[in-house]
Structures are given as C-alpha cells and as structure tokens.
Symmetry: C2
DNA sequence: AATACATATGTATATATGCTCATATGTGGA
DNA sequence: TCCACATATGAGCATATATACATATGTATT
C-alpha cells in the first residue's frame, strides 16, 4: 500500500489511479478559494438582485436601493464587495456613481445556475 | 410621477421603462432563494472539493474524508446538504454508501465559475 | 467657504454556518 | 444476539456575514 492509496471502509475503494486523478484535477488552494469566494458572492439574494438590476442597465446606488426597497448603506456595502471581486465597475457622473457589470461572464454564470434551479 | 418611477439622486435616473424591465426580468422570491441557495452551496471550499472528487468517480464517505484529510462527520454533514439540494445521489452497497453527481449540470456551473476565476 | 446631496465606511449586533464531539442508526458477520 | 464498522445526526462553539446606524468623504452649487 503506497502513500497515495487510501485505506478505509475495511476495503480499498479508492485506488491509486483514482486518487492520482483526483489530486491532478483538484484545483490549487488559491483557485479553490477564489472559486468559493465567487460563488459565495452569488449566494445572497441581495447581491443577486443587484446583479439582475445591472443586467438591464447601469444604475446609481440610490436607484438600486429604491428599486430593491433597501437602505443606501446596505446596497453600498454590497456594491463594494461586488466591485472588489471585479464583478461590477463604477463610473462617476457628478455626485452620482453609476455601476454596471464588469463583463458578461457574470451573466452566464448566473444564467447557468438559474437553468438548474428552474428545471 | 407614477408609482413605478423612482425619484432619487435629485434626478430621475431610473425611468419607468427601466423599472418595469427590471421588475419583469427579476425572478420570483422563490427562484431567488433557490438560486442563492445553490450558489451558497458552491461557495465553500469543502463542498467544492467534494464535488471535484465526485467529478472523477463515485466515492463513499470515508473515501472522501481520507482524500480531503477531513473528519467523517464533517464530510457526512456536507454530503447531507448536497443531497438535500439534489446535487448528488447516494447508493448503498453493504455498509458503505457511495455518492455520485446527480447530473452534469453541477459540473458545468462549476466549470463556468472556474473559467471566470482563471481568466 | 458653506451647504446639500450622493456615496463610502467603521462599528455593532443578530443570524447563519462549518466543524467537532458525542451519540444514534443501519448493516453484516461471528 | 452481540459486536464491529460505516454513516447519520444533534448539540455546542467559534467564526463569518448582512444589515442598521452613525459618520466620513467627495462633489456641485450658491
């Protein structure tokens, strides 16, 4: 029994080739962290609703707050997180700051999830 | 100014047609909840790593626990959540219970996310 | 410069969540 | 039936997080 063979369940279910295959295809710790952070971001109805708003058009903070019936602070905090992950971008116009989707990848990920939920 | 026109930012940025478009395309509360729950599930490195294991082959609980160097209890708890969302399915074989992906949709959602993270 | 407005941000709090530990359930063998 | 093994599950704890509240920052107008 080698290091990469896992002994468990009284039998050896996971053999060396499977273990190696898993270890080869398992993303790096960094990639796993980023991936989890991305999905975690989509894992909140407020953020998803914000993104659905931006699917239609760019909007300023109070536009979104009004549309979603939420406080300016709550929306601003969430926008800050979305911006940190580069899912949205900001554009200043006078006193207002308009947010829009950074790229269409966001849309396709969420649509992919929606397809699964709706089926 | 009608009900569906939002007054904010001293100017009316969001006009009636935009508001209506958003309200039309915004999924129902139930759909938003399910969607968030789905992404929330992918938003944890343990669960993502479990799914990456099952991408390769079906595995029993202690297989996964060994591979991921985690406790049986922790893995079992997470598998329970994944099963509740019908992302994985279980098959009993004697004392062991083998888990596998419920469908390939899971794979495509995660791959879509991975594409975004990796670019 | 002073004020008003739009947004950002720090802090606090309530809730959610992931893991551990202990224990229960289910299965097969002696 | 008794025991060992694989898994499931309930409770508790530590951490993470979403929002509210208060306040700071940045911009335009007068």
């Amino acid at each position: 029994m080698t290091d990469s063979t896992v002994q468990c369940c009284d039998l050896i279910h996971v053999h060396q080739d499977t273990v190696q295959h898993v270890e080869k295809t398992m993303p790096s710790e960094d990639a796993l962290f980023d991936l989890a952070e991305l999905f975690k971001t989509f894992g909140d109805t407020t953020r998803i609703r914000i993104l659905f708003c931006l699917f239609i058009d760019e909007m300023c903070v109070c536009d979104i707050a009004n549309l979603l019936h939420m406080s300016q602070s709550a929306i601003s905090h969430q926008l800050s997180g979305l911006k940190r992950l580069k899912l949205i971008k900001a554009r200043r116009e006078g006193k207002a700051i308009f947010y829009s989707l950074a790229d269409d990848h966001v849309r396709s990920i969420i649509n992919e999830g929606m397809d699964h939920v709706m089926e």
